[in-house]
Symmetry: D2
Subunit: 354 residues, 4 copies
């Protein structure tokens, strides 16, 4: 854990607290050393009720009685907290998040709406912590918006980053096998996915093809110059509860070897590790030599779901190399990633705690 | 059905009749217009018992009482039949199949052992029926061996054939999501696959990368010149009962369009259709416009499992085009494919019926 | 099939045609010898569109082009047909079905709303075909309403009927493991059922405990005297696509033996078999001696899903005997059961064809 | 955790360390405050190799490098430890465990072989800790054998114990829905269980009907007088990874109410709680008011898998009351239960530590 001394826990709120990502925020923040949940907000329909009465809790950790009794509020910028974590549905997230930022809140969002806004960091702390500077140029006075990438993007960019640094990247193809929890609740009907695969996820391939260009982009004052890199994605839904598995092929600009690539992954470390952030995985990337690894059920929870796993690296006859990547989609790929973003912001004093 | 007049049904035997593929042969041949099962052969351990006593039948059609009462024989070349369909385990298939061919049997095998033998056709009737000529050069007097490709190869080559003919192919990448029935019985432990994906299938990627080169090869008297084509495969096992789904990207040598490619697939037809073979799908390739199709559960049984399904054709930013292909792995990809091969051989009078 | 001569197919409509049961009606009636679908009706939202545009078809038989092009109508009693099969949601079924009956339609419903109405037959043709007489006492002029029992009730009552006749029944306990298709579409969220069991199905246990009493009841002119029989049910949802499996224990009033009970099941036959109705299973009950049978995946489709399967009969230390029953919930337990009811009504000339 | 002071950790060995239960012992003992694994033993085939080379590890906690490097030994009574935990296959467990006990080892077994031996305690610490006295009468000098019940028995007896104490029991019926991990590895073929239910588990029903009688029996010097109680079990296998769910009906001898029964469960506590044993759940029984609880995926891990969950208590029309019980089959029902037994034995100084 961290050696940062936080005199007093920072009050945080959850927007969309009854949803799938919202529940994960509640679960992951239960014993957080820096943050304390002081507000749960959801739709008008739920506002005014005790959280346990309106949430259909399906996390495997039991809902704490304290949280269960908390009265749910509406998503209006009058919540008693400094940071709001947003797990809002994208149909409403854009507007509500802007309202909170305008009202002075630090908005740490998992929703897609503001990800590609020019002054909004699309943050992966191990990769582009310098992009946090962008918030200076946001038009809010005290508020700000920071986002994390799509759940299927995160595993890929974590795996690509060490390769980009050492061998540079020309092109990437990725085929995903994504868990049902990525679709939220109720999400995918059991009639559609039991004993089946659905070769399509709405809007997902576009995110995987564009978000990495911004994440790997270069910061120039108030804007990001996207990385020049071609990505082609095919996204599939499989009957897995948690954990997105991806088959990736890469074309590199510089000569590499299997051994050098494995070394690059194993040695990889970033700002969260250097700063010893509470949610940072000690080792962000695990490489497995076993040819049938990584697997969603076995490896998604490594380092409490914050590390990614790689395996099966070998030459590709068509591209240069191919390998498998696994990441936990609702932890590293959603709520956990957002919490790591907030920890980085606290540690780097990006905003005043008040 | 066929208009071929078969005066008397041809007696056929099943080698490995108690196994997964063997059971499928028994199920598919139950009411075949040309073939009649007269021998079921399995390991020494099962020989002498009634079939129903030694088979762990897990097909959804009930085992017919007639078949159930048949006495299982040993896999020795004294079976009362002309053709033997082999669903033998590859640990023993090579030698046993050779023995049967030497003894004058027509061996139609689903096993991998002889697939790459120079004089053994690796037959997909819609694609390379001319390769049947190879059997003339086999060293057996009356016997012969013909094989069908691996269950994951068949969907891919069927989808690639029309593209190869019209646009020529430079390179192919394929990522598979394969059904558990492809591993036979008991095959994959439920502990490994329930709610999981296994990113590795032993020996599978090599087959997908080499078998198509022979299938698409050119016949020169007694040998096949393999097609010059680069294929890169990544094979995954998913929690699906039947139906291999594959994400394919292709680099073409000639200019194509999405519409031309769809037309090539929809118009595709081959020797089995022209000859009106009993197991031939009327339409071998279905293209779906729905963006979430094809799906294993919905489309694997099209044309009794003998047609393949394609969907989601679109440009690929890295290769030229990408799309999804589905085929039924134990029907078109195994027993059904072998039966179609045998039908082609009968229709073309490749062997004397005796 | 049937020897009834139907000069001209009877025009039928489907109420709730886009839903789960509605789709099954469309699938099962595709080639029916007596009935022809002439109207598809659904919610106002779908009315006016082609069926293929508004249905999310998830049956494994492809939707026929003819049906796909049919224009969906609203559920108003102006449909061009004589019989309407109702797969309506219970929130609206009661009122709409009454409207149709008042307008002179023969309503054959799978919905629960009218099942317990005193003058509405809760019909299982093998068990209580005499209850059809009740329709004479319905308040409609030309119209009428007939219902079939809940999907979890049907397997149980079919299995109990022969025991009731030969040994009389004192008490029954039943624990179900029910398929997800029983909940319709979207129905059960995959997040809830994948790798899980849900020990509760809303409203289901009450149906299982009361419907059999009416089905086994005695007809007295215009009313049914319910059978005196105690039933206790526990209903569970499991990750199975189709097929409800039930563990049943019975206390009998007369002495029985395992052999006599098996014989009672195997010899069981009813009105549909005597009348040779098109959808009647030749053998309505299958008893399996294999100790690991029946199983949903293997046996649900016996006799096109219209037969039920029983196995594992043995003495019960607490009750008298216990055994397992399986039935196909969307065929015998829903659409197929309703169609069999309609066939019985046609054969017995319960209504004028017009 | 416990306040017992253990000067030096007690060396323990695992018999059958590569199997399913053996792996669970290794996982659960990784950081045990009292025990330290000093020996891993398995079949001759594995002996001499590093554990990680011969185990097919499929636990979700990664195998610790220290354990992975340990050299596997043969199952011979020369292991450097005081206690052996046995997860041996029942085909060999009987003899090997006897050998170890004769050689002076404390054998804490999860295997069925010695469970019903007259002088062997079938121990559930919350229920019958007094039965431990039996070991005095065992024929070994320093060694002894103690067993825990079958994985499907444990949840039931924990739920029944408070009822037995307060209301006495006349008869019990139980229908189980058991997880695949109960069958070990490779265990159940995925072809058999995916999207299916198997209504039979070899030898399981007999265990559920007899083990409780011994567990609830009265100790009379060197023997247990079994409880007079009638139990009828029906065991089913479902597609769940971990967690056995059971539908139980009880006939009570004294009058009860729903509220009194819930109170009996919630207040229940036993020797492990009083002694504050390291693996003891603080609260051994959880009762849920939510009508769709308990569920395997949500509740199996309560109190690290050592507590059981109950829900849906209501009157039974045939028996007196019915309810659902859930327990984690490989933790409370196997390795965790055995470890709790060993902890009880240490705390009560049943054997000299040496």
């Amino acid at each position: 854990m961290s050696d940062t001394t936080i005199d007093k826990k920072i009050p945080v709120g959850i927007l969309g607290a009854t949803g799938s990502v919202g529940q994960k925020f509640v679960e992951l923040l239960a014993d957080h050393p820096w943050f304390e949940i002081t507000a749960l907000a959801a739709s008008e329909r739920s506002a005014g009720s005790a959280y346990r009465e309106v949430v259909k809790w399906f996390q495997t950790s039991p809902l704490s009685p304290h949280m269960g009794e908390m009265t749910v509020r509406a998503c209006e910028p009058t919540l008693p907290c400094r940071i709001v974590f947003s797990g809002l549905d994208s149909r409403v997230a854009g507007e509500i998040e802007t309202e909170f930022a305008e009202a002075g809140y630090v908005v740490v969002s998992n929703s897609k709406n503001h990800r590609m806004d020019p002054q909004v960091p699309l943050l992966v702390p191990e990769i582009n912590s310098d992009h946090l500077e962008l918030v200076k140029y946001q038009s809010f006075s005290e508020g700000m918006i920071v986002t994390n990438p799509n759940c299927s993007t995160i595993g890929m960019v974590m795996a690509l980053k060490p390769l980009l640094d050492e061998f540079d990247l020309d092109a990437v193809t990725v085929v995903t096998m994504q868990a049902i929890s990525g679709a939220g609740y109720p999400g995918v009907s059991s009639l559609e996915i039991l004993g089946n695969v659905i070769p399509y996820i709405s809007d997902e391939e576009g995110k995987m093809e564009t978000e990495p260009l911004k994440i790997f982009g270069r910061l120039n004052n108030d804007e990001i110059t996207p990385r020049d890199l071609t990505i082609s994605a095919q996204c599939n839904r499989v009957a897995v509860m948690d954990g997105h598995l991806e088959s990736i092929s890469v074309k590199l600009k510089k000569a590499a070897t299997v051994e050098k690539m494995k070394a690059a992954w194993r040695q990889f470390s970033g700002e969260p590790q250097r700063l010893n952030l509470p949610s940072a995985p000690a080792q962000p990337i695990y490489y497995f030599e076993e040819e049938h690894f990584p697997q969603p059920r076995l490896h998604r929870n490594l380092e409490k779901g914050m590390a990614i796993s790689i395996g099966r690296l070998r030459p590709c006859q068509v591209m240069d190399y191919k390998f498998m990547v696994l990441s936990h989609n609702t932890i590293r790929g959603a709520a956990g990633g957002a919490i790591l973003n907030a920890e980085l912001m606290v540690k780097k004093s990006i905003f005043r705690l008040r």
